[in-house]
């Protein structure tokens, strides 16, 4: 049956197959890998990255790119921590308001991002990269380089309280994944992301307000970065400028490895879930079998290239800039 195993089908399922092969081979090399404790560990390391990666997934589906996540995550984390402590320092008080506040801060940064990109007509990668630097700088200004401890037991329950072996933060991430899926598949905004990514000219010629879609996309991405920031603070109990570090590489790697095409229109949040798991399984598995960190980075880099090579139909691409 040659038509069952076509290129398209293969590309669609390739990320999942890669994930299964990875899990299988790490298990063979080190049976301790395959345990609930270890899976929970992978879950904990994945959740903040998953939120950030989902945010950037929407942007990449539109055919743009957002590199502001590190700055946005830092600002949201720091803003949350300051507000949380100022409002009482425990979720049982008015301090819970710090949670929606953080989401608003994320949306605002995303909005500015989108406006700079669309109104000033700056390519999205440049606009967002610049905004990311501004964010990192701003977070440093707020904290003065200090770490802010968030030691409320109720908030830290995100990590400490476990249901069925997994901490609550994993379930929170799952909830937001489902929300993202809903946005992607059931709302006009989600449909518009695909339309803009699949054919911007046509979307325009069908009467869509493409600029508005773009700005909304960046704002939405900002909200998901903020969720990622909250989970990152919940995981270690500290908010600082460095909270956002490393999210850019991990999230974009995950999106690409998950099979979302960089030129837009193809992919989605489930792809991103698989991508995030692949990245984190590799990180975790290499530690478990005892390989040093620099090998992990090398392997991830190779994986990104492999993923793009696999998903590109090179016959239809004449020039690559």
């Amino acid at each position: 049956m040659s038509n069952v195993l076509t290129r398209d089908v293969l590309i669609k399922w390739a990320p999942l197959i890669v994930l299964l092969i990875l899990v299988l081979s790490f298990t063979v090399m080190e049976p301790r890998f395959f345990s609930l404790r270890n899976f929970a560990r992978i879950g904990i390391s994945s959740t903040p990255a998953l939120m950030v990666a989902i945010g950037v997934t929407f942007i990449i589906i539109m055919g743009s790119i957002d590199l502001s996540m590190e700055g946005t995550v830092s600002v949201c984390a720091v803003a949350f921590a300051f507000a949380f402590i100022w409002l009482g320092g425990t979720l049982a008080s008015w301090a819970w308001l710090a949670l929606p506040l953080a989401l608003l801060v994320g949306a605002a940064i995303g909005l500015v991002n989108g406006l700079v990109h669309v109104i000033l007509k700056i390519p999205s990668f440049m606009a967002s990269l610049a905004m990311g630097f501004v964010g990192t700088g701003f977070a440093l200004l707020l904290t003065g380089g200090d770490r802010i401890r968030v030691e409320d037991d109720l908030f830290r329950a995100l990590l400490t309280e476990r249901w069925f072996g997994f901490p609550i933060m994993c379930y929170v991430a799952l909830l937001f994944l489902l929300i993202a899926w809903f946005i992607q598949s059931r709302t006009t905004l989600g449909r518009n992301f695909y339309a803009v990514g699949g054919g911007e000219e046509l979307a325009h010629a069908s009467g869509l307000n493409v600029n508005r879609v773009r700005i909304m996309g960046f704002a939405l991405a900002g909200v998901f970065y903020a969720v990622g920031a909250l989970l990152a603070v919940g995981r270690i109990g500290i908010a600082e400028t460095a909270t956002g570090s490393n999210f850019m590489f991990v999230s974009i790697t995950s999106v690409v490895v998950g099979g979302t095409a960089l030129w837009g229109g193809i992919g989605g949040v489930w792809n991103t879930l698989i991508g995030v798991l692949i990245v984190n399984v590799i990180n975790n598995g290499m530690v478990v079998i005892g390989l040093p960190g620099y090998v992990q980075d090398g392997v991830l880099g190779v994986l990104v290239i492999a993923a793009v090579v696999l998903s590109t139909d090179r016959k239809s691409v004449t020039f690559v800039k």
Partner: protein
């Protein structure tokens, strides 16, 4: 000296060149005329090596040759001056002239710019262009760029032994009258260096310049006339002469439009700089209005203006009684204008999105509450229209990029019609479709117009325009030449139209 014998070229579904014989002598200027789609551009591509002939021989001075690519053709002295100017505008004039052939000025890996400038100056002198070869090309006028292109082709003279054949594809389309004169006198002078093949839509120019004229129709050379015997009328008849089948264009289904009703679209003295000027027209419910003209006569720009993609520099556009002040696609869509552009792959459907997603793209608001889509209703709508237009697709989940051209066309049409659009702009709706799919489109046009939809059509061929329309407006160089009334049984002939087009 350069000769094609019985050259054949087939594309899937199209017999583009049928046993074409073509000959050009030393120092001769040969004209090539024909309607759009007659095979002129295919023939030229075979000549300069972009296409390889499927059958027949190409000989130069009696020796058989075969070109795999334009570079090989150039090595045999065949050069092309492109209609779309092929200069890279951010490079200097001399870099453009020697693009790909810089090696001759390189020593030890470094380009000797002075030598290149001197050589370029020599080439520019051939075309009598006195400019600094170090100038950035974007600073030149269109006429000057045309001459630079000619100079670039003339570098072949030094590079190869033997004779030159230079193809000029619509070289006058962007030139003013006196520039055309200049170019022609230059070409006549250059006949001591090269032979020329001249392609133009403007019959008077072809007659003026060419020694002999090849007339093409449906992939065949139907006539070869010497300049002394050439008559514009006779050539035009040969270009278009064929029978029109009334049945084919559903003429019997053509009903009178509602001429008394308020016009759906009304243009008054509308101009867009560089595209067209002083266009006035009214489109009534049930009317099929066809804009006829050659490529670049402003037809597409008029459609784009009505849809809102171009802002006129002068005049007023009124859609259903509303004067439009802000020209955006949204302003068109919200007043019921549907635009079906020529390149379906680029602008018609979003490949990667499925059938129902494409159909509701322009009207998602009707299928959503607070931004949440009612996908069930979308699918129901899609199924209705799949039945109504007989769209061949396995189901509503099929990626539109995988449908055939005709079915993509139907999806696009369903998109606008289901959204309630009653002003439909069709740009070459049948281009690239096979006969059956074309007839489906004609049926749809009739059905829509009988429903009271106003249609502005840019047809693929003149017969199509005459067969389908209630009204024809002939354009030439962005100016309306003549308006024809085309009630069934009293349609203008092809010749009437061609006469005003060129």
């Amino acid at each position: 000296m350069y000769e094609l014998t019985n050259v054949d070229k087939k594309f899937p579904g199209v017999h583009a060149l049928k046993s074409v014989n073509f000959k050009i002598g030393r120092g001769e200027i040969v004209g090539l005329v024909g309607e759009n789609g007659a095979g002129k551009s295919t023939l030229m591509k075979v000549i300069y090596g972009a296409y390889q002939a499927d059958g027949g021989d190409i000989t130069i001075d009696g020796t058989k040759v075969r070109f795999q690519n334009p570079r090989q053709a150039m090595d045999h002295g065949i050069g092309m001056v492109f209609q779309e100017q092929s200069l890279i505008t951010n490079l200097t004039v001399m870099e453009n002239i020697f693009l790909g052939f810089e090696q001759q000025f390189v020593s030890y890996g470094v380009i000797n710019w002075k030598a290149m400038a001197d050589a370029a100056r020599k080439q520019l002198a051939k075309v009598k262009l006195d400019i600094d070869p170090g100038m950035i090309t974007s600073k030149l006028s269109f006429a000057q760029r045309q001459l630079v292109e000619l100079a670039k082709v003339l570098t072949l003279e030094e590079r190869i032994d033997g004779d030159l054949v230079i193809l000029l594809d619509e070289p006058t389309s962007v030139l003013a009258k006196e520039e055309v004169e200049l170019l022609f006198s230059l070409v006549r002078e250059l006949t001591n260096r090269a032979s020329f093949i001249f392609v133009s839509h403007r019959m008077d120019e072809v007659l003026d310049l060419s020694d002999r004229i090849y007339v093409m129709k449906d992939g065949e050379v139907v006539d070869v006339v010497a300049q002394s015997d050439a008559k514009v009328d006779a050539i035009q008849h040969k270009m278009v002469g064929r029978d029109v089948d009334k049945e084919y264009y559903r003429e019997q289904k053509q009903k009178a439009y509602q001429a008394e009703a308020k016009p759906l679209v009304s243009l008054k003295n509308v101009s867009v700089n560089g595209s067209y000027s002083d266009i006035s027209l009214d489109l009534h419910p049930g009317e099929v209005l066809c804009l006829v003209g050659t490529e670049g006569s402003g037809r597409e720009a008029i459609l784009r203006t009505i849809f809102g993609l171009e802002t006129p520099s002068e005049g007023s556009v009124v859609l259903k009684g509303d004067a439009i002040s802000k020209f955006t696609a949204q302003s068109g869509v919200s007043r019921g204008v549907g635009y079906i552009p020529r390149e379906r792959k680029v602008e018609g459907i979003v490949a990667g999105m499925n059938v129902y997603e494409n159909m509701t793209l322009s009207q998602m608001g009707n299928y959503a509450r607070s931004g949440v889509l009612r996908i069930g209703e979308e699918k129901t709508l899609a199924r209705q229209w799949i039945d109504r237009l007989a769209i061949k697709t396995p189901d509503v989940y099929k990626d539109c990029g995988g449908l055939s051209g005709g079915n993509q066309q139907k999806v696009v049409l369903a998109k606008w019609r289901s959204a309630g659009s009653d002003i439909i702009l069709l740009d070459h709706p049948t281009r690239g479709l096979d006969i059956g799919a074309k007839e489906d489109v004609y049926d749809m046009v009739r059905e829509m117009s009988n429903d009271g939809v106003g249609i502005i059509l840019v047809a693929d061929t003149l017969e199509e325009a005459i067969g389908l329309s209630h009204t024809i407006i002939v354009l030439k160089d962005g100016v309306a030449q003549k308006r024809f009334d085309c009630s069934p049984g009293d349609k203008p002939s092809l010749y009437d139209l061609v006469h005003h087009m060129i």
